[in-house]
Each structure stands twice: as C-alpha cells, then as structure tokens.
C-alpha cells in the first residue's frame, strides 16, 4: 500500500515537473550558448508550408515562419518596429525621418515619437501607407507596415501590396544572400509582402505591385493582358535551397551582424571616400554593434546612453553605456568596469567636473570639432546603401555634425542637426507645412527652371544634322543636360564669347546655334537649313510657351510650311536670337530669373533662390486667393515671407528651428579624444567646441541664414569662456608659482619644526 502511495506521489511529481518543462516555451533560452540550426519549413501568410515547385507559390511570412518559436507580438513591440513609441519611453531623441521633395525644396523632419522640432505623420496628413512608401526602404517592417485599419486611407493599396511584416531576417539574417538593398527596391515597387523573401535570397521576385490595377488580388495570379509592364508580383524560389522535406537552412545570427545594422545606421561625411573612413574604434577591436546594443525578446534594444535605466529599461542597461563598461555603473559599481575588455580610462589631469558636465561622447565620439561642423549623410535620411545602376542618395536633408548641445541629463553631448525646409501656411503666426503636391501647381515654371533648361537643350538635340549637342553658355560656364532631367555645369573655354548665348558644343569649339548672317542679304540655303532645323527642334519642347522664332536685326524668321519665312519687324526688338513668339510678343527662351536661378543653383546642394521663393509665394497667394502673408517658406533656420511692398524678408520663427539628436558613433581612439592635446583643445579663445560657427543649411541659396556660435547651443556664457580660455595662457606660470610657494612654505615649516622635534628627542635622551 505504502509503495503504491509512494509511486503515485512520485508519478504526480514527475507529471508536475514535465508540465513545468513544457511551460518553458521555445522562445525562452534553455542556457545553451550555441545558436540553434534553423532548418525550417518556410510558411506563407496563410499558414501553409511553402513548396517551391508548387504553381504560384507565396512569399514567406516571418509572422508564420518565425512566430511559432519567437512570439511575434512581443518582438513587434520592439523599438525598431514601433516608430510611434512615445518619447517618454525613450528619453533621448533619435534620428527622425525626413520627408524630402527636392523639386519643391521640402525636407520636413518627421517623428512619431514627438521629439521637439519634428512633425508627426498625423500633423502632416501622412497615412501609414504613405509612410511605408516613403521610408519602408530603411524600415524593418511592422509599425506603419502593418496598419490596424487598412481602410483608413482610401488611397492605400494594401490588398495589392500586402503588409510589411516585421522582418526578422533584416537584422538577424546572416546569409551572404541577405540583401537590404533588394528590400528597398521591393518596397519601392510596393511589393511589400514579397520584400522579405527577395531580400533573404530565397528566390527571385519579379513584377511590380505599384503598376498593377488596384482591383488585382493575390489569388488572381498573372496578368494575362500584360507581360511587360503591369506584371503582378511573383516569386520563383531557388529550389536548391530546399531539402526533400521542403525545409530551408535559414542562416541567422542571434547577434545581428554589423552589416545589417549599418544598412540603416550608417553616417558618412559628404564627399568622403570609403578608404578614408576609419569606422568605430570598438568595431576595429572586434566588438559588434549587438555586443552593447542588446535586447531580450521584447526587442527594446539598449541604446547605451547614461540615464537609460530611468527611461524604463532594466537596471542592467546602464552596464552597457560608455560609463557602464569603462568606469562601472551605479548598479555594478567600479568592480563591474572592464566589461568586454573595456580599459579603464586614465583621464590624468582631467578635473572631475568634466565627467559631470560632459557626456563621454563629447570628447570621444564623432569627428573632432572644427571651425564649422561638417555635413554628413545618413542612411535613413539620405537613402544610402541602395545599390544598382542608379544612385538613390539625396543631398537633402543637409545634416551637420558635431553640434554640442545639452541633453536631458544636463550634460553637453555632440549632436547631429538638420534644419527643416518647407512651404507653409501661416495663420496667426502658427505655421503648418504644406504637402509638396499642394505646391506643385503654383510652382510650375518657377521651381523647375533646371528642368526647363534641360528640356530646351534636349529638344535642340533633335536636330541631328547640327555640328554638336546644344548647350547654354552663361557667365563663362557651359550648361548641359543630365540624365535625370536637370543640368550640370562646366567651365567654358577661355576663348568663348562672354554673356549668355545658346551654342552647339562641336569639335571646333562652341558655335552659335545658327551661323551668323546678314539679314539684309539673301539667306544662304545652308544657313536657312540650320535655322529651319533649329526652330523645328525647339518646337518639339513640350512646355514651349509659343512659336519658336529667330530674330536677327529687325527681321523675324519663323517656320511656315516647312520653310523659314522672314518677317520684318516694325520696331527694333529688345531681344535677338532664338525666341518664343506668343500673341505677337517676343519672349526669351528662358526668362532672366530662370537663367539666374540656374546659374545660382547648378552644381550646388541648394536648389532654390530667393527670387524663386518670392515668385512662388505670390503664385500661391494668387492660386488660393489669399494675401501673401498667409504663406511662407521655411529654410536655413529662418522663415521667409513677403512684406507688404513685395520684398522677401527673413525672420526668426520657432518652426524654423532645427531638430537634433545625439550622436555616439564613430568612437575615436583615446589618443584622438578631445583633450589629448591638452586643456587648450577646448579652453582656447578660438576653440571650435565653444567658438565654432554653426551655419544653418537648407535648399535655399541665401546669405540670410541663421548663424550662431557653438556656445549658443551649449547654453554657456561666451564672455566667461573667452576669459577662462585666456587663463590657460598664464596657467603654466600659475602652476610654477604655486609650486614655488608650496616648496618655500614646506622649507620654512621644516626649518622651524625640526628643532622642535630635536628638542623632544633630546628630552627623551636627557640632553634636552
């Protein structure tokens, strides 16, 4: 009986233990440090295992494939997948997204976190669909890509494109096939549900959801009417990657490889060469991004800044800040320092106040401060890392670093800074950004001057008998069209005629469009043929405002019945050469303001001139039947608006203030830290960290941009720091004087105290 009872109790205990074991889900770490081999069946969004040889297979779904072991809901709550995480949960600003439209000079910082000087997607009227199309290229899915309400945006095509699930492989994919550039291209094609499969290299994705009719559905299959253009997305799996049980070896790394992180988190100086880039000293030492930026299943990745614990992270988050590893955090105390082999800093001769007032990054991260901060491009803002024949990167937004500012914990830290630029509606001094498409109509003929010039030059290239391609020569510069419909400039030969003239770039040099001739004499047939071909090719320009004519002296040559017909003009014309004739009026091929704008903007990062801004503000007012004061253009740290007498003025406005976010990488070696050259690295009357010049940047060519000194951003007093800097000039003398004083005092003390000591000793020996 007893043995039965014991057996019963034992079996109950065993069952309980077994049950306990079963409660340990596959997502929980069992303690083994090896990375499990992920030989898995790929599963599509309907939950069906993918068979590569099946007709019209579906793309794999991370939710269905990875979800059974790694709870998808928990993972998708991580920082990377939630662009709307409230700022209070993050404490420290992150880089915003930028809504960039080069044509209208728009670069609006957008953030769902609610950081200062950014706009939320809702404020700009951006839906989840639009956000995904704009920024999905550098976004690992989830968030905007998986809207709760697909019908919220009537323009959205989720039914065609599918959703962008949180893509585990975007970060953890360790296969050499893992291609984030391919991901960006698939997102641009609106092949949302196919992007992860294409990027992972499981197969080849063709077709473009963006070209397919909105009524197309996944089950409809191929488009029988179009095999070239409106081809629905499809996938052809690489059957060699599947085993007999239709499983694929998914190469993953628990710690995300650096190259995956760097696709979205690269920052590079403008015009830098790859070989010039050192990278981060930690990376050089073999430490991976994920060694410090760790996370649990919730994917709330440790960002690694001081005070992160107070931002809701677990206590151990502080161990992975600079101080945590190098000095020991408050939790781990000094004994915790040295994690991952982090050397303990010497900081010899550095007063402790520096560690209280400055972040570690102030001296150790980013470029050393220079007289003016450098301009950089970041992967997310400037579309870096998307490879192919075409360059995807953009000059806008113009971001500069390092600008030293105080963070929320009161420490000074280096930041990246970008100024907003956008057309705005102004009501009672309240500024609301206008969407680029709201400006487009009024901007026609004002902002597209380069495109107009390129259009005319390309139209002139239809004259195939001409001695060379058409160019514009202006101010000693030759303008030629580029493949993207704009123009580029090069220096004109020194012997070329001055002024502004249209020319043919021939082997003999720059020649006029039409050879010079005397209008009083009979027109030479060869010249007449040149005139005819030139005027006929000009007429092919789609935006031509009138009929092309050639005016020489007081004679106007036009094309009539495929021949050149001269017409004497009643009065000497103000213009000559190739012109447009509209309603009897003679117009230049391009108006003077357009030529001036081309001259000012070609070959520069800036795309707009003040004259264009003034014209467009007037055009917007006319278009919407409102006063000109109802519109403004924000750029370069200023708000530009028209005064009552039509002058463009630049004023300070909160909406023109820049957004900023702290930078932490690349970390420089200690020997290149600020202060390694002595106190005067920072405490000098012209030290860049205090007295560097910060000039606001934007798409507008202007001399009225906001300019400030670095100390303005610190919140420090310039006169004091200038005075303080001068004390470092006399400091060596001060140190010597103090040493002499201490030495002299010590000698005096010794000289007079020693006899007393002798007397005491004498007292004990009986000689005192």
């Amino acid at each position: 009986m007893k043995s039965r009872l014991a057996a019963g109790v034992l079996s109950l205990l065993a069952a309980a233990a077994l049950r306990q074991g079963c409660l340990l889900s596959a997502a929980e770490w069992d303690g083994n440090r090896t990375t499990p081999v992920h030989l898995l069946p790929l599963v599509d969004e309907a939950g069906e295992a993918i068979v590569p040889a099946a007709p019209r297979p579906m793309p794999f779904s991370a939710r269905q494939t990875c979800g059974p072991c790694h709870d998808y809901g928990t993972v998708a709550g991580g920082f990377h997948f939630r662009p709307d995480t409230p700022a209070k949960e993050m404490t420290r600003p992150v880089e915003p997204w930028f809504w960039v439209d080069s044509a209208t000079g728009t670069q609006v910082p957008v953030s769902g976190h609610g950081w200062p000087h950014t706009w939320s997607p809702a404020e700009l009227g951006l839906t989840e669909w639009q956000s995904t199309r704009l920024w999905g290229r550098h976004f690992p899915g989830g968030g905007w890509g998986e809207p709760a309400d697909e019908l919220a945006d009537p323009e959205a095509r989720w039914d065609v494109s599918g959703k962008v699930e949180a893509n585990c492989l975007a970060c953890h994919g360790a296969s050499p096939h893992q291609d984030p550039s391919e991901w960006a291209k698939q997102i641009a094609r609106e092949n949302f549900r196919w992007a992860a499969t294409a990027a992972a290299g499981f197969g080849e994705v063709g077709g473009m959801a963006s070209r397919v009719h909105e009524s197309w559905r996944l089950l409809d299959g191929p488009n029988p009417d179009d095999h070239l253009y409106a081809v629905p997305p499809y996938i052809e799996y690489d059957a060699d990657q599947f085993d007999r049980k239709h499983r694929v070896l998914v190469e993953v790394s628990h710690r995300a490889p650096d190259r995956n992180c760097l696709f979205c988190h690269s920052t590079t100086a403008v015009n830098a060469e790859r070989w010039e880039t050192d990278g981060d000293v930690h990376s050089r030492a073999g430490i991976q991004c994920a060694d410090c930026h760790r996370n649990g299943l919730d994917h709330r990745i440790i960002r690694g800044y001081d005070g992160e614990v107070s931002a809701g992270q677990s206590g151990s988050a502080a161990d992975f800040s600079c101080r945590g590893c190098h000095l020991g955090s408050a939790q781990a105390d000094a004994a915790g320092a040295g994690r991952l082999g982090a050397p303990r800093p010497q900081h010899r001769g550095l007063p402790p106040i520096h560690l209280e007032s400055l972040s570690c990054t102030a001296c150790h991260s980013g470029p050393r401060p220079a007289t003016t901060p450098r301009q950089v491009r970041t992967a997310r803002a400037n579309r870096l890392g998307i490879h192919g024949r075409a360059q995807w990167l953009t000059d806008a937004p113009q971001i500069i670093e390092p600008v030293f500012m105080k963070t929320s914990d009161g420490r000074i830290a280096p930041h990246r800074v970008a100024w907003p630029a956008f057309w705005a509606r102004v009501e009672d001094d309240h500024v609301t950004p206008m969407r680029p498409e709201a400006v487009d109509l009024a901007a026609k003929g004002i902002l597209d001057v380069q495109q107009q010039l390129a259009g005319i030059l390309l139209a002139l290239r239809n004259d195939t008998e001409a001695p060379g391609p058409a160019v514009l020569v202006m101010g000693g510069v030759v303008y030629t069209p580029t493949v993207d419909g704009r123009v580029e400039a090069r220096q004109a030969p020194p012997e070329s005629a001055p002024g502004c003239w249209w020319a043919r770039d021939s082997k003999e040099g720059l020649l006029p469009l039409v050879p010079p001739f005397d209008p009083a004499a009979d027109l030479d047939p060869a010249v007449a043929a040149r005139v005819l071909a030139t005027l006929q090719s000009l007429a092919l320009w789609s935006d031509a405002p009138g009929e092309p004519v050639l005016v020489v002296g007081q004679t106007c040559y036009a094309v009539a019945n495929a021949a050149v017909t001269p017409t004497p003009l009643a009065t000497p014309p103000a213009l000559s050469g190739c012109l447009w004739q509209k309603d009897g009026q003679l117009l230049p091929l391009l108006p003077d303001f357009a030529l001036a704008a081309v001259a000012e903007t070609t070959g520069r990062h800036e795309t707009l001139t003040e004259a264009q801004v003034a014209r467009l503000l007037q055009a917007l007012a006319q278009q919407e039947q409102k006063p000109t004061s109802a519109f403004a253009y924000i750029s370069s740290g200023k708000l530009f608006r028209l005064t009552a007498n039509g002058q463009l003025e630049a004023v300070d406005h909160e909406a023109a203030d820049p957004c900023s976010w702290p930078l932490a990488h690349d970390v420089r070696p200690a020997t290149q830290a600020l202060g390694s050259g002595g106190c005067t690295d920072c405490h000098a009357p012209d030290a860049p960290i205090l007295f560097g010049t910060v000039t606001a940047k934007g798409p507008l060519v202007t001399s009225r941009q906001a300019v400030s000194r670095m100390h303005h951003w610190h919140g420090l007093q310039a006169p004091f720091h200038r005075l303080f800097a001068w004390t470092f000039v006399t400091r060596p003398v001060f140190k010597v004087a103090l040493a002499v004083a201490v030495g002299a005092m010590a000698l005096v003390v010794l000289a007079f105290v020693l006899p007393g000591v002798r007397r005491i000793a004498g007292y004990f020996t009986g000689k005192g």
Binding site: S357, F720, A741
Partner: protein
C-alpha cells in the same frame, strides 16, 4: 555630510572674520610694542596678513557656499576662487617667512615670544595644512592623477580647507587674546 561640513566651514569662516576684528581692536590699543612685535617690517607684515586673511575668507566663502548648495564650483566664482588662491599662496608664503621666527621651538625663541607652546604648535599645523590645501589643486592640474585620484584630491582639498578654517579661527582668537594681554 558634505553639506554639513560646508555649513561648519562657513560658520568657522564667520568666526574667523570676527576674530580678525578682535585682533584689530586689540592691535589699536597695543600700538605695536611688546614681544610679539619683533618683525623688521611691521607694516609690511600687517599688509601681508591682511591680504592673506582677505583672500582666505574669500576662498572659504566661495568654496563652502557652493558645496552647501551641492553645486560644482564653476563660472566666475571659480575664477575668483583660483585668483584668491594665488594671492593666498603668495602672501602666506611671505607672511610665513616673516613670522616664522616668532613661532619657533628653539630654546632661545622662548625669550622672544609671548606665544604659548600650544599656540606655536597650532601655527605650524596651520602652515602644514595650508600647504596641503594649496598642493592638492596643484597636483590635480598636472597630468598625474586619474579620475579616481582627482576625486580624492578634491575631497582632500575640501577637508583640509575645513581644518584650515577651524585652525585659522582658533589661532586668530588666540592672537587677539595675546595682544589683549600685552595691552593689559
């Protein structure tokens, strides 16, 4: 704890200033005669002591006030503190040279001074502590001490400064008594 010590320092400074006034009152009646006035340049000695006392007071007030508010010594107050430190170092070194003989421990010194043995011992303790007070920032300015040692030096500077204030107050009070007794 630091704030309590800073409050003590400030209290000591105020008492030191009061004691200085007592010395001044006693000196007026004393008219510069007697065993304490053995210096060759009494007016210079007086000027040195006045400068040293003023800079010492300014240093103590600027240093302890900031710590009492649990803030770091920065800005113009830091500049004032450093400048006063230089003045104190210079004037006290000279004052020490001028006054040392009166506080000596040799057998013959007893005939030339009215100071007690304890008073003399206190004086030399004060001098030794002041050397420490001046030497700690000097060492901190040199590329010798790391972060932890820098913090140690700052703590040492504060504690020595507190001890110096207390000793300065006691010594000044004792000086006033000596001068008052000579007047009598």
């Amino acid at each position: 704890m630091l704030q309590l010590l800073s409050a003590l320092g400030l209290l000591g400074t105020m008492l030191f200033v009061l004691a200085c006034f007592r010395v001044r009152q006693a000196s007026r009646a004393w008219a510069g005669s007697g065993p304490a006035a053995t210096g060759r340049f009494p007016r210079c000695e007086q000027l040195l002591l006045w400068c040293a006392s003023a800079s010492f007071t300014a240093l103590a007030l600027s240093g302890f006030t900031v710590r009492l508010r649990d803030e770091a010594l920065t800005g113009y107050l830091l500049l004032l503190h450093v400048c006063c430190g230089a003045v104190l170092a210079a004037t006290f070194t000279l004052a020490l040279l001028v006054m040392a003989a009166r506080f000596g421990f040799e057998a013959e010194a007893k005939t030339r001074t009215a100071y007690s043995w304890l008073h003399r011992l206190g004086f030399w303790w004060f001098a030794a502590i002041l050397i420490g007070v001046i030497a700690t920032p000097l060492v901190a300015m040199l590329p010798l001490a790391g972060t932890h040692d820098q913090e140690l030096l700052v703590a040492l500077h504060r504690l020595l400064a507190l001890a110096a204030v207390v000793l300065a107050m006691l010594l000044t009070r004792a000086e006033a008594r000596v001068r008052a007794s000579l007047r009598g």
